[in-house]
């Protein structure tokens, strides 16, 4: 009898625990965050949360620091995303061919993206060290002037983007290589008959055919780059000044350094909306391009 009941409802018995878990851990926090974004609250026992309506939002939208963090986020995201895509596709085209030690090379290429981001942030902190770091040492070898890297207001975001590019270009590569391995052979054969050059084959056959895969890789990276936290926290913590303070870092500072939970929550709602818009935009582009 019990078996019969279980068999009839197995669909729900199997999914309910996972769904309940996700609702408790995720849906509740989201609603809670939206709610406290309308309150002023500093998490102290003395002053209870106070309803302030849209004040947190208005204050944020009028603050320079907020717009600075929007700018930093977009700058970092666009820079990392563009370089990772171009470099990732280019490297995939090289690594995809047959050469000696291909399997070992592919395995080594995997290591940056599994390495612990915080630890890698600290390794790059040493590499970027102005006096003893490897980055300036190399610049000197090639006859260039040393840079301040993370210590300079104008160089901090590009320096951080280099870390992200180092860690995640292999991921773009991996996805593009998977796409390359599924390409049909016929178009290449007929192009060969027509006497097409290697360059023409790349531009007119390979790239259009792997375009859907490239877009998938970009979507994934976009969502993650926007949310980058670990390497920035480990290296600059948003500095110098607030030059590398992205939305994610600013939210953390507001919430857990200044304990302004209301403001932090309204910032989160804005941040989440931005991510949602970007995601929907990417999905729309993907559809438009017939991926």
């Amino acid at each position: 009898m019990r078996t019969a009941w279980l068999d009839k409802n197995i669909k729900w018995v199997f999914t309910l625990p996972a769904v309940l878990f996700v609702i408790l851990m995720m849906a509740f926090p989201i609603f809670y965050t939206v709610r406290i974004s309308f309150f002023e609250w500093s998490m102290s026992a003395v002053t209870p949360p106070r309803w302030v309506g849209l004040d947190n939002y208005i204050e944020l939208l009028n603050s320079e620091r907020f717009w600075q963090s929007v700018k930093a986020t977009l700058y970092f995201t666009v820079l990392a995303l563009v370089v990772e895509t171009v470099l990732g596709v280019a490297i995939a085209l090289v690594l995809f061919r047959e050469y000696k030690g291909k399997n070992i090379a592919k395995t080594l290429f995997l290591l940056p993206m599994v390495s612990t981001p915080v630890a890698m942030g600290l390794v790059w902190l040493l590499i970027y060290e102005p006096t003893i770091g490897a980055a300036n040492m190399m610049l000197k070898w090639f006859g260039f002037k040393p840079l301040e890297w993370l210590g300079n207001v104008n160089q901090a975001i590009p320096s951080l983007a280099i870390i992200d590019i180092w860690q995640w270009t292999p991921m773009v590569c991996l996805i593009v290589m998977a796409g390359l391995s599924t390409l049909p052979k016929d178009p290449y054969e007929s192009a060969e008959v027509d006497g097409a050059s290697a360059w023409q084959k790349l531009i007119y056959i390979t790239l259009p055919l792997v375009r859907p895969t490239i877009i998938v890789a970009m979507m994934l990276r976009l969502i993650d780059v926007l949310k980058t936290f670990d390497i920035i926290y480990a290296t600059t913590q948003g500095g110098p000044g607030s030059a590398s303070e992205t939305l994610n870092i600013y939210t953390y500072m507001l919430g857990f350094q200044f304990f302004k939970l209301g403001s932090a929550s309204s910032l989160l709602v804005i941040f989440f909306t931005i991510i949602l818009i970007f995601t929907l935009l990417m999905i729309w582009i993907r559809k438009r391009l017939g991926a």
Binding site: I10, P17, A18, V94, K106, L110, M120, I132, I175
Partner: protein, 270 residues
């Protein structure tokens, strides 16, 4: 002749790319065997007398064994929990085509994790669960569970249904079919998704800085013990970075095939 030089050029450029990308890890390993004075000087970059002092300091002064244990408990605990909830759910989603449900769970991938952090902090503070493994395991499960569900849905979909149907006709209950037939042939999928869950939990930093305390501090947080205001102990940090990275690099090297397919599956669903 032309063919040969082209092949040589290809393999040289391939290995050059790999060398450039391996450089930071190589630098980390080298610096972990140097004294502070050797790190501060630009002579003898590659050839020097290695010291193990950084490593012994990491274990003796900074008590890293405890943090390794903490990270392992959280990574394994959250992976087991995610498997327990995720495997049946993924199976039901695959067999009964519950697309909407799958999508809901995938949302966890898009939302910035920091969104959950303020309410969690308030909630876990109220329940007196800050600085307990329960809080860390539960929160890390929110990262592991979607991964396990994503990787397992296509895996379960690709299993032949005939065996399951035959067992049902023989009077086996649906629950037993899952337990006795589906799970035993799902080894590769379970390995792939478990590895992903372990790697992501091991690397997680954000949840632990807020929800871990002295008792439950995990490796990515513990590494900050090396940064004091007066001087940065570079050798110690590099040794600690090596120790944190080594286990997952070993996993990635040994189970390369699974890690690649796991990362690719996670990517394509995202």
């Amino acid at each position: 002749m032309k063919q040969k030089s082209k092949a040589a050029l290809l393999s040289t450029s391939a290995w050059l790319i790999i060398l450039i990308f391996s450089f930071p890890l190589l630098w980390m390993v080298l610096a972990s065997f140097k004294t502070q004075a050797q790190i501060m000087s630009t002579d003898n970059l590659l050839i020097f007398k290695p010291t193990l002092k950084n490593y012994s300091a990491v274990f003796e002064q900074y008590n890293f064994m405890k943090y390794i244990g903490n990270s392992a408990v959280v990574a394994l605990g959250s992976t087991l929990g995610s498997l327990l909830l995720g495997l049946p759910a993924a199976y039901a989603i695959a067999r009964y085509k519950l697309q909407g449900l799958a999508l809901t769970i995938l949302v966890a991938r898009i939302i910035p994790a920091i969104t959950f952090l303020i309410p969690w902090f308030i909630l876990f503070s109220g329940l007196k669960l800050v600085d307990t493994f329960t809080a860390l395991i539960l929160t890390h499960m929110l990262v592991g569970l979607p991964f396990i569900i994503w990787i397992m849905i296509p895996f379960f979909e690709s299993l032949p249904q005939e065996i399951e149907e035959a067992a049902l006709i023989d009077g086996c209950s649906k629950f037993k079919v899952f337990l006795r037939i589906v799970l035993p042939i799902s080894g590769p999928g379970v390995i792939t998704s478990s590895l992903m869950s372990i790697i992501f939990s091991w690397n997680n930093f954000l949840f632990s800085i807020i929800l871990a305390g002295e008792k439950t501090k995990t490796l990515p947080v513990a590494i900050f013990n090396f940064i004091s205001y007066s001087e940065v102990n570079w050798g110690g940090i590099m040794a600690a970075a090596c120790i944190i990275t080594l286990p997952i690099i070993l996993i990635a090297l040994v189970a390369q095939r699974y890690v690649v397919s796991g990362l690719a599956a996670g990517a394509l669903k995202g």
